[in-house]
C-alpha cells in the first residue's frame, strides 16, 4: 500500500531549499488571510493550483479530492449561520443567513482548501530527510527535528498495518457494517489493541536498527543531500514577500476584497 505523499519528480520546486519551502508555506498562509471575498480568495487558490501544476503535484490533489471538496462544501454550508451580514438571504427560527455571510463561507472554504493544498505541495515536493535537514538548519534541535520527521514517516506504515488488522478481525467475525454508535465504539478495541502493540514493537525494533547503524541523537552527522540556498531561493522569498506586502496594503489601505469587514 503506497500512501506516501512525496512524488519523486524533478521540478524547480523540488529543487528549492527546504527552508525556502517552509518559509514559503508560512507566507502563503499569511497571504490567504488577507481577503475574505470569494473572488479574491479564488484568485489566490488558482495561483496555488498553478504552482501545484508546475510542481507536478496534481496527482496528490486528485487523491485527496474528496477532502478538498468536503472542506469547501462544509464551510459554505455552515459559515453563513455564524457570520453576520447586513443583507438577509434566508432565515429559519433563530438561524439567519445573509448574502454576505454566504460569500464569506465560500471564501473560508476556499481558504481552508488552499491551506491544505499548500501543505500538499510542500509534502509532495519535500523528502522527509530534507524536512529534517531544513528544520535543523533553521535552529531546531536535531532530536526534535528527527522525532517530527519520524512521526510523519511512520504514519503510512501504521496505516498499512491498520488495514491488515481490520481485515484480520473482519475475517473472524468482527462486523463493522452494522450497529449503533455505542456498539461501534466497543468494536474499536479489537482494532486498536493490536495496532498499539504493533506500533510499540515496530518503534522498538526501529530504535534498535537505527542505533545499530550508528545513530545517536546528540552527535553531529553529515547530510548526503545537502541543499543550498541559491539565487532562485532568494528570488522566490523576495517575490512572496512582495506579494504579501501588496495584498496587505490592498486590504488594509484600500479596503479591497472584503465582504464582512472586521473579520479576517
Amino acid at each position: 500500500m503506497n500512501i506516501f505523499l512525496y512524488l519523486d519528480k524533478d521540478t524547480w520546486i523540488h529543487r528549492l531549499d527546504p527552508r525556502t519551502k517552509m518559509i514559503g508555506v508560512v507566507m502563503i498562509f499569511c497571504i490567504c488571510l488577507c481577503f475574505n471575498h470569494p473572488l479574491y480568495m479564488a484568485a489566490i487558490s488558482v495561483g496555488i493550483l498553478l504552482i501545484a501544476i508546475s510542481a507536478k503535484a496534481l496527482l496528490n490533489f486528485w487523491r485527496l479530492r474528496f477532502i478538498l471538496f468536503l472542506l469547501i462544501a462544509f464551510s459554505t454550508v455552515t459559515w453563513p449561520f455564524f457570520a453576520k451580514g447586513p443583507t438577509p438571504l434566508w432565515s429559519l427560527g433563530s438561524l439567519h443567513a445573509s448574502q454576505e455571510s454566504l460569500l464569506y463561507g465560500i471564501a473560508m472554504g476556499l481558504r481552508l482548501a488552499t491551506f491544505v493544498g499548500t501543505g500538499l505541495i510542500f509534502l509532495s515536493t519535500t523528502r522527509n530527510e530534507e524536512l529534517t535537514n531544513g528544520l535543523i538548519r533553521m535552529g531546531c534541535p536535531y532530536s526534535i527535528a528527527f522525532a517530527l520527521s519520524t512521526a510523519l514517516r511512520l504514519v503510512p506504515t501504521f496505516a498499512g498495518a491498520g488495514a491488515t488488522i481490520i481485515q484480520a478481525q473482519v475475517s473472524r467475525g468482527l462486523d463493522l457494517e452494522t450497529g449503533n454508535i455505542f456498539s461501534r465504539v466497543s468494536k474499536f478495541i479489537p482494532q486498536a489493541v493490536p495496532l498499539f502493540i504493533y506500533a510499540i514493537r515496530h518503534t522498538n525494533l526501529l530504535a534498535m536498527a537505527l542505533e545499530s547503524k550508528g545513530f545517536s541523537p546528540e552527535s553531529k552527522r553529515t547530510f548526503y543531500y545537502e541543499p543550498r540556498m541559491r539565487v532562485i531561493d532568494y528570488l522566490v522569498l523576495a517575490f512572496l514577500t512582495a506579494i504579501f506586502a501588496i495584498l496587505l496594503y490592498a486590504r488594509v489601505g484600500l479596503h479591497l476584497g472584503v465582504v464582512i469587514p472586521g473579520r479576517l
Partner: protein
C-alpha cells in the same frame, strides 16, 4: 589468522526473567569465518547476536557476566552506536529496519551518522549498491521494493559502514524462496570478502556452506564444529529442535555409508556404492487417492485489479476446490496467492469473473455468513490478538455472532483441545510463545467451525518443532473433515502434508495437481523460480514415489 570475536563465559539474564537467556557461552571466531548459529525458538540465538553489538546489555538491560571482545575491545563498555563501526546488524523484520525515503539515502544513513565526508559516502553508496545488485533501483522508495530487495538493501545499508563483523538474525525467515536465494548469494560474496559473518537460520541448508556451526539449546552452546560434523549428528540436531538434513536422515535410517549434506553428494555416494537402482520411468502422475466430489469453492475466470495500483493481480483463474482437500499454494510474493484466497472469504470482490462458495456466488453472502463458512488465518497472529484471556480471544467471533456465554465456553474448550492448548483459557495471549499465539489465532477462526480454513504462511517464524506441531494439527483438522488451504514458502511442508499443490506465477496458475506430480516436474517449478526440497530432488532422480524420509525408506527397502 587473528581473532575477530572472543566470547568469554558470557551469561545474561533479562531484567525480570527467572532463567538466564545465555549461560556460560564460550567461543572464538577468527577473521573471515562464516558461522551459522542454530537452535530452537527461545534458545538464546538472538540474545547472542545482540551481545555482539552491545544491544545486550545497553538496549536490553539485565544481569550480565563474562566478556565479549571484538578485535580486542570489550563490547559492553561501548554504546551501540559506537559498536556500529565494528559490527553490522541485520534484523529479520526488513520493514522495520528501513527508514529512509529512497534506496540511496538508506545506504547513506549509517555513514552520515559517522560523519564521513560526502564524497566518501558517495563512493560507499556506489560500491554497496553494486555489491547488493541494487544499482538500478537507487531512486526507488524502499517500501516499493520486493522482500528480497528490501533485505538486500538492509544488508547493504549496514555494509556501507564497512564493519568487520556482520551479524544477521534470521535474515531470510520472512522471505519468499527467490528472496532467500538473493540474500544467500549476497552473504556468500560477503564471506568471500573476508568479513566475519554470523547468521542465525532455521534451515539446515544454509549452514552447509558455513565454516562453523554452533548449536544452542536452552541458552547453552552445546556443540560447535564444521558442518560436516555437526549437521551429520542427527541426535544432536534433533535434541536442539532443528530439522535435520533429509539426505543425512535418509542415509542414517537406511544405514547407508556417509552423511551427504547435499543432493549432489548423496547422488555421488549412491552411484559409487551402487546403493540403489535408478528407475528409468518418470514419476507416475496418476491422481492416486485424489479426492473428488463436491466442489466447495470454485473460481471462474477470476480477475482482480487492485484499485490503487491498477495492476492485474489475477489474470483469469479457474479453480475447483473439493470438500476435504489439503492444498498447498506455492509461488513467489506478488504471484497472486494471497489475492486469490482473499476472494474465498470475501475480503476482496472479483473485478471480473466470479467465486462460487457451495454453489452460490460469493456476492450473495454477507460478510458474516462467508466468515462462518470460510475461515482465514492471517500470517501474523499479532495482527488480531487483543483480548485479556485466551478464552475471550477464541470466543470473540462467537460473541460477535451473539451466542450464549455457555455455548461460547463449551465451544472454546473444544477448540482449544483441537489446537492442543487445553487448559489455556485464562492465560494472557500476549505472554504466549509465537507458536502458541499462532495456535490461538487458528483457534479463534476455528471456533466458528468453518468448513474451509485458509492459512497464510502458517509456519513462517516458527521453529521446527512448532512448525511440525502446527502442521500435525492441520492434518488432524483435515482428517475430521475440514478443507485446508495453506499458502507457504516452505517446500518441505508442502511436500509432506499437502495432497494437492497449486503453483502460481504472475497472477495465473502455473501448475495444479497431486503434490507428487507437481514436485516431479522440476522444469515447471523452475519457471516459478521454485525448487523442490532436496529429498524430493533425490526421489525424482531415483524415479521414486516417496516425498518423505519414511516413504522413501519404505520404498527402498521393499523395492
Amino acid at each position: 589468522m587473528s581473532l575477530a570475536i572472543s566470547i568469554e563465559e558470557l551469561t545474561f539474564t533479562y531484567q525480570g526473567a527467572e532463567r538466564a537467556a545465555l549461560r556460560n557461552i564460550r567461543g572464538q571466531i577468527e577473521e573471515g569465518t562464516f558461522v551459522a548459529v542454530m537452535g530452537h525458538g527461545g534458545a538464546g540465538k538472538s540474545t547472542l547476536c545482540c551481545s555482539l553489538n552491545s544491544l545486550v546489555p545497553r538496549f536490553f538491560r539485565g544481569e550480565y557476566q563474562g566478556r565479549v571482545l571484538i578485535k580486542g575491545e570489550e563490547v559492553a563498555q561501548h554504546q551501540v552506536a559506537e559498536m556500529s563501526r565494528h559490527v553490522g546488524f541485520v534484523f529479520q523484520d526488513f520493514e522495520a529496519q528501513l527508514f529512509s525515503t529512497n534506496v540511496e539515502l538508506e545506504m547513506a544513513f549509517g555513514p552520515e551518522n559517522h560523519c564521513l565526508p560526502r564524497e566518501e559516502i558517495g563512493r560507499r553508496i556506489e560500491r554497496y549498491l553494486r555489491f547488493t545488485g541494487l544499482e538500478n533501483l537507487r531512486n526507488r522508495e524502499p517500501s516499493s521494493l520486493s522482500g528480497g530487495q528490501k533485505q538486500r538493501l538492509a544488508i547493504g545499508s549496514v555494509l556501507a559502514l564497512e564493519p568487520k563483523v556482520l551479524v544477521m538474525d534470521e535474515p531470510t525467515t520472512d522471505l519468499d524462496p527467490l528472496g532467500r536465494q538473493e540474500v544467500l548469494s549476497v552473504s556468500k560474496s560477503i564471506q568471500e570478502e573476508g568479513r566475519v559473518l554470523l547468521i542465525v537460520d532455521h534451515e539446515p541448508e544454509t549452514a552447509v556452506t558455513a565454516d562453523q556451526v554452533w548449536l544452542i539449546r536452552d541458552g547453552q552452546l552445546v556443540s560447535k564444529g564444521a558442518p560436516s560434523e555437526i549437521l551429520a549428528d542427527v541426535a544432536a540436531m534433533e535434541s536442539c529442535g532443528i530439522r535435520t538434513l533429509p539426505t543425512v536422515e535418509l542415509f542414517h535410517s537406511l544405514n547407508w555409508p556417509g552423511t551427504p549434506l547435499t543432493v549432489e553428494a548423496a547422488i555421488e555416494i549412491i552411484e559409487n556404492h551402487h546403493l540403489a537402482q535408478r528407475v528409468g520411468s518418470k514419476v507416475k502422475t496418476a491422481p492416486s487417492g485424489y479426492l473428488r466430489g463436491f466442489p466447495v469453492l470454485k473460481a471462474e475466470e477470476l480477475r482482480y485489479i487492485y484499485p490503487t495500483h491498477r495492476v492485474e493481480a489475477l489474470r483469469g483463474v479457474d479453480l475447483n476446490i473439493y470438500e476435504g482437500e489439503f492444498i498447498a499454494i506455492l509461488g513467489q510474493n506478488g504471484s497472486g496467492k494471497t489475492t486469490l484466497v482473499k476472494h474465498f472469504n470475501g475480503l476482496l470482490k472479483p473485478t471480473c469473473g466470479r467465486i462460487m462458495v457451495q454453489n452460490k456466488s460469493s456476492t450473495e453472502y454477507t460478510h458474516r455468513e462467508l466468515a462462518r463458512l470460510v475461515g482465514y488465518v492471517f500470517q501474523n497472529p499479532d495482527h488480531q490478538i487483543f483480548a485479556r484471556t485466551v478464552a475471550d480471544e477464541v470466543g470473540f467471533g462467537l460473541k460477535m455472532r451473539g451466542e450464549t456465554p455457555k455455548m461460547i465456553g463449551k465451544r472454546v474448550a473444544e477448540t482449544l483441545e483441537v489446537v492442543g492448548l487445553q487448559g489455556y483459557e485464562q492465560k494472557v495471549p500476549f505472554a504466549l510463545t509465537k507458536g502458541e499465539r499462532q495456535r490461538v489465532a487458528v483457534a479463534s477462526v476455528l471456533a466458528a467451525q468453518p468448513r474451509v480454513i485458509i492459512l497464510d504462511e502458517p509456519t513462517t517464524g516458527l521453529d521446527y518443532r512448532h512448525q511440525r506441531n502446527m502442521m500435525e494439527m492441520l492434518r488432524r483438522l483435515n482428517q475430521i473433515g475440514h478443507t485446508i488451504i495453506i499458502i507457504t514458502h516452505s517446500m518441505w511442508v508442502a511436500a509432506e502434508y499437502a495432497a494437492r499443490t497449486i503453483v502460481m506465477k504472475d497472477g495465473g496458475i502455473l501448475s495444479d495437481g497431486p503434490t507428487r506430480a507437481v514436485f516431479g516436474d522440476e522444469a515447471r517449478l523452475a519457471e516459478a523460480s521454485l525448487c523442490p526440497p532436496s529429498l524430493v530432488r533425490l526421489s525424482n532422480w531415483l524415479g521414486m514415489e516417496g516425498l518423505t524420509v519414511e516413504q522413501m525408506v519404505k520404498e527402498l527397502k521393499t523395492g
